[in-house]
Symmetry: C2
Subunit: 164 residues, 2 copies
């Protein structure tokens, strides 16, 4: 799903990115900086809210995914390099669809993130790049989905004649 | 757009949430914690990337929005309370659509966030709540869009007979 050339991606391919433990301190620290709604920073406000407990910011749940994906990508990149393979460039995402948080993340939860390639297509406007569409999920330690979205990722195409 | 009861929202209503300055230190700190791709944490890697410069993580751009929205909501909440009005409960978002980062955010940029109510509907499954659909945008100091998405927000309905 990452650090492969566009041509190497295949629909149905799945990758586990890793997991993130949501420590109470970090949940509150993230929320204080970026999402200081009462139910994200205060136990009592959490209990009185629709969440029933202090809950992590949805943007924290998403950032945890990105952290795992980055680490996973670095690993794949290093592995590829150690095998003497060319490194493709992974570009920015042109956007995500259907970003949802089906259930809250609570302090003490561990969320595991994974992705499945859904489809891919060349980018007409940028011949060097292709688009890879994936379905990304985060599930907690009980297997309950807490984050889902559809990702589009720009991935470099293999240049004709380049030795991989 | 926030801290109003469901019945008070109107399509076309716009709200400016505030702005966030993306200091270089904070850009790198956020990226190190949650999105440590080279072009988000290293000037040289940024120059060599599709961004052309060190660029902020898209999740940081989104988190800046949430920070502004939270502050804006608190202000609206306090204002409402000072006028002796009842406070509705704002619930979690069931999801966002079309999350996109049309242009990068660079250190030194100031991003201003705003939203426009697109539509609303009662929630059949939860009679106490309604859904408010909005279009959210972030623009930099040159008026260039750097973040766009469509938001759905759960907002409490006014209970029949409650004095506002």
């Amino acid at each position: 799903m990452s650090w492969a050339f566009f041509e190497e991606f295949e629909a149905g391919q799945t990758d586990a990115f890793g997991s993130h433990f949501f420590a109470r301190d970090e949940v509150i620290r993230f929320a204080r900086a970026y999402d200081p709604q009462p139910f994200h920073i205060d136990e009592e406000a959490g209990r009185d809210s629709i969440f029933g407990r202090l809950a992590a910011s949805g943007w924290h749940t998403a950032a945890g995914m990105m952290k795992c994906w980055s680490a996973y990508s670095f690993g794949r990149r290093a592995e590829r390099q150690s095998r003497g393979l060319a490194l493709p460039e992974i570009g920015p995402s042109p956007g995500f669809e259907a970003l949802a948080w089906p259930r809250p993340v609570y302090p003490g939860d561990t969320v595991s993130y994974a992705g499945e390639v859904v489809s891919k297509r060349p980018l007409a406007s940028r011949p060097r790049w292709g688009l890879v569409m994936s379905r990304i999920e985060g599930v907690n330690q009980e297997g309950v989905k807490v984050l889902t979205f559809e990702s589009k990722l720009m991935v470099e195409r293999r240049i004709s004649g380049q030795v991989a």
